[in-house]
Symmetry: D2
Subunit: 341 residues, 4 copies
């Protein structure tokens, strides 16, 4: 940590800072410049953070020089991790395709979507039973009934299930059906939920908050990791910007940035980021090429009847091209398409 003193800071101000740092067991190194003095701190960053150094007289700025996350940081875990979901790997050697309907609506629709997913190369099935919706008047999902449909479709297709949980107190219920718990973009700072999924004993897919910085996203992962669960897959799904041509702006650079900061796998959701069917395949290609460890894609047998996000779902006519992408692009990255157990 570095303290930057204001131009008018006095010798007393500087000595006070040094004393406060010493009282927290730290050492302070003072460098005097022509117009400013800077003070480097060595010691326990957490204790320094609690000191409220910015509040001291003469302090202009406090610059943190170490990252605030630990368990998910690559500093302490240089090898990139592989998370395994009922035998299906997500990690640096593979590209994993997760696909399925945005929302579970009926058994027939879910089964049909699962077959579409499998035909394209998917080895994990996505599908929402609990849907967080901006409007209280919109379809909120089938709840436990939806979870049972997913379990039946898993039985029929062999595809493990990834599904969202939106409330800390539903975690046990959802975990009793799901193979991987998804935390959605609107819950990226719902700390009670993060802690609950951290304790649930299942792998977690953590979507980036649509307005979260990369650091906030990793801090959210740290909340999960703190409860003893390091089976976390990060999912970039677009951030909110001023551009209105797409629903959100896919921050594709986040993949290599995060892979450098954290050992956790990172995948991309090309469906929700753009919100447009015509962008899904180009963004899927880009996702693999940038080095993402997988993609999660909406498919729907009849999107014009979908109860949620129909405009972004791939349809049967798109599947051949998706399957081709999943066959050809991983090779160029020296990866293989992830297979089931």
């Amino acid at each position: 940590m570095v303290i930057v003193m204001a131009p008018g800071a006095t010798q007393d101000d500087i000595e006070s800072v040094v004393a406060v740092v010493a009282s927290a067991g730290g050492e302070a190194f003072v460098s005097r410049g022509v117009s400013r003095t800077i003070i480097g701190l060595i010691g326990d960053v957490e204790r320094f953070a609690a000191l409220n150094l910015r509040g001291l007289a003469g302090v202009a700025d406090v610059v943190r020089v170490s990252t605030p996350y630990k368990l998910v940081s690559r500093d302490n875990h240089p090898e990139r991790s592989t998370v395994t979901v009922r035998g299906v790997p997500i990690g640096p050697d593979t590209v994993t395709l997760i696909a399925g309907p945005c929302a579970v609506e009926t058994p027939a629709q879910t089964l049909e979507a699962a077959k579409m997913a499998k035909a394209a190369g998917a080895t994990l099935l996505r599908g929402g039973a609990f849907k967080p919706r901006t409007s209280p008047y919109a379809f909120q999902g089938l709840g436990e009934k939806g979870l049972r449909i997913l379990a039946d479709v898993r039985e029929q297709t062999g595809l493990p299930i990834v599904t969202e949980v939106v409330d800390a107190h539903d975690v046990a219920l959802v975990a009793s059906y799901a193979d991987m718990l998804q935390v959605g973009t609107r819950n990226a700072q719902n700390f009670a939920l993060l802690q609950a999924v951290g304790a649930a004993g299942k792998p977690v897919m953590l979507k980036r908050g649509m307005t979260a910085t990369i650091e906030e996203w990793l801090m959210a992962a740290e909340y999960i990791a703190q409860r003893g669960n390091l089976d976390i897959v990060l999912c970039e799904r677009g951030i909110r910007t001023y551009e209105t041509a797409t629903r959100n702006t896919l921050d594709i650079s986040a993949v290599p940035v995060v892979q450098r900061l954290s050992h956790l796998p990172v995948i991309i959701d090309p469906s929700h980021s753009g919100g447009r069917r015509d962008l899904v395949l180009p963004l899927t290609r880009a996702a693999i090429a940038v080095g993402a460890d997988g993609v999660i894609i909406d498919v729907h047998p009849h999107p014009e009847q979908a109860l949620c996000d129909g405009p972004q779902a791939l349809v049967n006519g798109d599947l051949d091209e998706l399957a081709m992408i999943m066959q050809e692009f991983p090779k160029l990255m020296s990866r293989t398409l992830a297979q089931g157990a």
Copy 2:
């Protein structure tokens, strides 16, 4: 709702749209232009929304022309509302000062802050017992112990309490102590929490999500209102932008914009928006002058020891000027400073 057809849409495409609308009990008015056709829809908007019209062949865009919120809309409730918190009004005739410490730390600190608040003209006491923090390593609040401190200070000062709740399952506990429940910026789309506070029988202060549009904010209020609670005060607290000189960017225009769209009172938080003590008084003056129904301000007897957000808390030396602002500025707006019961 208006459907804009693509330039190449066929007569069949248009007839399909008309048929789909009719099947939902609506009427479709077709206007053919030189390059495009537009179709106006009359009928039940919720049913139209479920049709997934964007998914139909030949449809380029679907434009919604009515607002998605109802209970909180001013369309259906032209008079602006006053919310009363244990006798203290927040509404169009008054300016209400809510003040207190960001976090409850000790009985002494809380009592001292409450006295500071009262001296400046506050009639409601803010103070956090449950603190949502970006880092799992940061101070998370005293929990129920903090609520008891707040209740004791209410006893000693007569100031009703506004305090945050961060998890749906704490609502009953917090409501048993608090006079007003606060939903914070990170929970602006925590729908389970919004529904729980809607059912708790206490007035609610709903902070704007730091990246919520005004429409999303009003939709969040609608979640609360739907559970039978219209005692909602909206609080603008800054939005996330690219500017880094302030923690967030106070969207002061949101006050008149929201007052035109909704009947609910709107207040401003000048402490959290800027994150800097030197901005609090200027932004407080601006808040009253723009027409806000109140302000909520952090004060702390010893901010250099604060466990949370010390850099933005007003100190004793600022109180005279704050008191002066609260005396003089409401008059210019033909309002009075809100008094206790």
Copy 3:
């Protein structure tokens, strides 16, 4: 300047940095921590900036601790400045009202708007003869003919003229008519134009780029100041954010932030920031209350016929309230309404 070394930086890396700094005539202070080393630099910042220190092996980050602007900085000029435009002051003791039509359209419209402006308390007349427009098909202004109309209206009303210049090579022409040159938001990084207005010998109003940081805005002012012109008034006019309810988001906090960083006067444009007539008066009140040194407002006798930005212009029916605001609000700030020469 502070250099933060990467966790894995070697002793050689550190010594290289020290040597490079020494070669530029600077001194380097090395502080070794448990996980990282930081190096404080004392010397000529410009020379350090040219060293490309981030490119050196083992360097993780370079943190600048002094501001990059000098002439416009308050560090070197603690007293706030007053800029005088043909006898009309803009500065810390007054609130100056600048008003007029967005675009000069006809002599009659301009004269009528100028009379409206004067009736409301304006002592400077705004009006655009050169209009930068997003669409090449939109009205681009009357050019020199518009400047002549402004000069005639100045003759008839006594109001000095503020008008925009959009191309470096029009500066001499515009300066031959105008009393103050305006640089618009789209030209905030048109450095050739900034240098030309810096050399023109007339006061300049510099609008903030709609996506400029405060630092970039002050750097743009520095370009003007470098050419010998310190008669610069900064104008906050809203920044681009994700919110769509207003055309831009007025960053009202920028006023006190800039007044702390720079000695230059700062005014607010409540018309262009919101783009809505119903926001102009509330934002004008807020602007004065936050401490702005003036406001610049669109008025139009017949906004429904305006060729540019009619929806935001105040009309005759708004003038009494504007005049009242200009009479009452400056008093509360211990200021007076700026008078003509």
Copy 4:
């Protein structure tokens, strides 16, 4: 164009709108709903835009349903265009690599960088002689001397030159040396410059404004096209968002979005978007995979000595991997690497 009337609009209001539209030679189709009336307009959109319809009584909103650009629109030019720069194609059948130093510094550095570019597969040389810089104290480029260096290096290597022009009045000079004129991100709304390059008779590379919407970007291209020049290549180079881990956020979705709206080629700048060397190769792969028609990349023989943007330049050690990407990735897109004339 569609006019949405306010809920309280009267029959008179509606008739006024119809009359105003008729006076502009248009036809108005009125659709009455339960709570609102909408009016569809058929006729000359430019004339409607000049009517200022939002200013009429009872009008709540005016929705434009056709695009404001024409010459660059794909509606009127369904085939995607190929722009040829001294024999080098940029278009739908190829992937073109443009590479070189950010700034021309010396003949030796420029030649060395050009050889690096060529070795990696580049057939066009980039290099800046006029540099727009945020700080007036930063290196501003060598000017004409830099252009002469570029011309010499073209002679020696056979690579045609792409270089930036920053002022309308330098266009003739720069065009006398350059094979392609670049308009930079800070000049994306410098309309005088856009018109000047439109008239210069050379192909133009138009970078997206770092905060321009896609529509504004295409409107800027329309300014160039209007002067008779359709040899325009669009370049996405990252947009400004709240994320600070990268200099800007590469909006990779903009490539397929723009290719659908416009017939112009679109390339990506992976160097300036991220501002980090470690992101350049991953983003280059993603650019080709998403369907970009080319990439423009900074290379520098000694980036630690670069006068501009050294931290993002590729070095000799990166070239083999870049060459491999340029060989392998275009094939997967059924394209070839663009060759020289």
